[in-house]
Symmetry: C2
């Protein structure tokens, strides 16, 4: 696709802010979950360095009808940042500054291109942290997290990243700059534009500043690992812990296959059993909470429940869970994982959806390692296919589709934290109904009359 | 105002679902915070009994261009539910059923007309509760709370009511029925229409079903009261408690004037000092948390800090705070309170905004009792005026306006939990900027093309 982007020359951008080089364009033609497809790449990559840059680029792009796709770390998994209609890719990584730290208010203002972990580094000396940060904080940006409504391991206790955002500055597709929210912890003033922008995957505008609420780091952190005889026992134990109100900051499950994959390619020596990883955060009474959790796990036949006394012990127990996704690819040289599933169901259905996925894999002849943020009912799974066999790939995708549809039937969602992007568009109407999707489209049209912002995402594939 | 609402006859509603009686119309011509104005009342009151009723009424109203204003308990304070353009008032109070309780998932589905406390009653036997419920739960409905983005005393620990909503069914102004969210605790699927509907004050549609996430009741609840020498000490103590991460479920401040008003007209015997009321919720370690709070308060010269051992003792200590608003009117027969202020500021500015309000009242000659949800930086205040003296009323409103503008200057908001309605429209642009308000208007137009839903609220007064 070729768009005329010569209008960029008139915007006063520096020479180092614009590139039509092949390497720059190729690098931003795909994301972590999307293979590069022929013909998909931006016509030009632009690095804005200020809100004013973003505003002038978007305003001009609306005038000229040229697509703009925001891009940052590229760690999205559903093609959310892939510029399928070409045009301008707006690389936000130079807007990565800490703008203000207000320790008394437990607040920080940042630009969107900052990495999650850099936020924590900026406030560590004040004893503060961003509680809901996903474990991908080392590699993904705050802007990308908010655009895709990210969450992660600590969501079971602390909610989603967006729950910690008080206000944002956003450039609308027309180039208008708006602010949302305030610096107060709550407001009932006007429509909540902030929560509309969150999760809209760059289709409604570009986030240029974020005010984040932080929390004091807990005085006590303890982590542990529980072993169970069966996957069913492990899943039921997680369900029971959540139902019973065990106050965990993380509660993650992995099946035996995931453990084996980890042992094969990460530096781990995990037992051949289903496991539940837990972490507790408290200022007081952490031992009581751990004891409570142990009681719940014992009711589900836990065979071992070890809780570490210190950080190193915790790291040892937690080994494998963090890097698990990286162990999938090298496990079998003939197999590759499809884009990982991200279904989320009510917690009572969590044991059932795992059982469904495992049984289906067995029946249809696929390895399907299962893991994920069990306490949220968020199941990640990877259908392993032979990438050189189109029939096997198609069959694997069909298996994955059935798991997603099962999750939706159970009252859940096709995506708990990765967004719709390109990969989950088939489920949007199934999940929300035609009328709700029409309402989303009408909002899109109201805020982006020229349809320039990240076209083809959320609603429509490239051909729509 | 007179609209032709004869089309209602064709919708198959029961005779007892429609009234043009004066009493029914008069009762819904004002809310708790808005005096009844001449000429403002609905042409007709309709009681829908199902989602289908709501859909057919809204669809027909859009076709005929007749305004529809949702109304429930009428406890809003800013005129949010006042039908200033006449037309149909949609009384939602018959849609008050519990539709489903799922204790394993800690979830309940309700219709919007249910009172907050009725939700808690429905789930009490399962040991569950709706943590963010405001203290007005006995008199206000879930639908009204969500429409106005309500919160309250427990927001400091548990967030806003809407933070506990997973999904909703909403009838759009065109009569289309949509669902938002899911029954999973998180989702990244599509635009977050739910959080857009929340706080839109009935201008974007009518909520007809709500899926609420609940929590287990804490095993330990303790409440107490702290006395300070000066209002400044009390406010600084609250600020320090929040900054230090004291885990309170409620932390409320009242000034000496509020205490005196309470003693004059409620059955209380409060000391003549500024006070901070606290409540702690925990499963473990509550004594440690109380001790931590005591340490913080001592640094601000607390003169007494009593914590009750049981519910009765807690009720005694907390006497006055809950019914305080009712003590304002009878305090002085020559004075009435203006609609209470609802400003919210970053917590570091909380001592400053109280000081500003008190000093201004003193300088301008007004009694201004101050109270509110201190831990959120949410200040309620009431400027006491002579209602029979228009100049005094105007002067009092000007004083109130200066407090609101000061809060906005400090990075705060004109309304923390009551909404914009009619009363706060002057501040909308000041707070959000023209571009953001334009974006809100364009969304309103996209979802409500005929402009029938609660016209004149949020954006435009009756004359706009």
């Amino acid at each position: 696709m070729q768009h005329d982007t010569t209008f960029l020359d008139d915007l006063g951008l520096g020479a180092d802010q614009v590139s039509v080089g092949d390497a720059d364009r190729d690098q931003r033609s795909h994301d972590w979950g999307t293979a590069r497809e022929d013909g998909v790449r931006p016509d030009v990559v632009v690095w804005p360095e200020s809100t004013a840059d973003v505003a002038s680029i978007l305003g001009a792009a609306t005038d000229h009808g040229v697509p703009v796709t925001p891009y940052a770390a590229g760690t999205s998994l559903e093609g959310n940042a892939v510029p399928i209609e070409g045009g301008i890719t707006l690389d936000m990584t130079r807007m990565d500054a800490v703008l203000d730290v207000r320790p008394d208010d437990l607040q920080i203002d940042v630009q969107p291109g900052i990495l999650g972990d850099e936020v924590n580094e900026a406030v560590a000396k004040h004893g503060l942290f961003l509680p809901a940060l996903p474990s991908s904080g080392a590699i993904s940006t705050i802007g990308g997290m908010l655009a895709n409504d990210a969450s992660g391991m600590k969501t079971v206790k602390y909610g989603e990243v967006s729950d910690w955002v008080l206000g944002m500055e956003v450039v609308l597709p027309t180039g208008e700059v708006i602010t949302t929210g305030s610096k107060a912890v709550k407001t009932s003033s006007g429509y909540d534009l902030g929560d509309l922008i969150v999760g809209s995957e760059g289709t409604l505008g570009v986030i240029t500043r974020v005010t984040i609420q932080l929390a004091g780091r807990p005085q006590q952190i303890r982590g542990g690992r529980a072993h169970f005889e069966t996957l069913d026992d492990a899943a039921e134990a997680v369900f029971d812990a959540v139902r019973s109100g065990v106050d965990v900051a993380k509660i993650e499950l992995i099946d035996r296959l995931s453990a084996a994959m980890s042992n094969a390619h990460l530096d781990t020596d995990l037992p051949d059993v289903p496991m539940v990883f837990v972490e507790f955060h408290a200022d007081h009474g952490i031992e009581d909470e751990i004891d409570f959790c142990r009681t719940v796990f014992e009711a589900h036949g836990v065979t071992e429940f070890e809780v570490a006394e210190n950080d190193r012990g915790m790291d040892d127990l937690w080994a494998a869970r963090r890097e698990l996704a990286e162990a999938l690819e090298p496990y079998d040289e003939d197999l590759s994982p499809l884009t990982p599933g991200d279904v989320t169901v009510p917690i009572s259905e969590y044991p059932g959806i795992i059982r469904y996925a495992k049984d289906l894999g067995e029946r249809e002849g696929f390895l399907i390692p299962c893991f994920g943020h069990a306490g949220d009912g968020n199941l990640h799974y990877a259908v392993m296919v032979d990438p050189d066999d189109p029939a096997d790939v198609a069959h694997g995708k069909e298996v994955s589709r059935r798991i997603v549809e099962r999750a939706i039937e159970l009252g859940g969602t096709s995506t708990g934290e990765h967004g719709i992007g390109l990969g989950k568009q088939d489920y949007l109407v199934q999940e929300h109904g035609e009328a709700a999707v029409d309402a989303m489209r009408s909002i899109k049209k109201a805020l982006d009359p020229a349809g320039i912002m990240n076209p083809g995402k959320v609603f429509d594939g490239p051909d729509a």
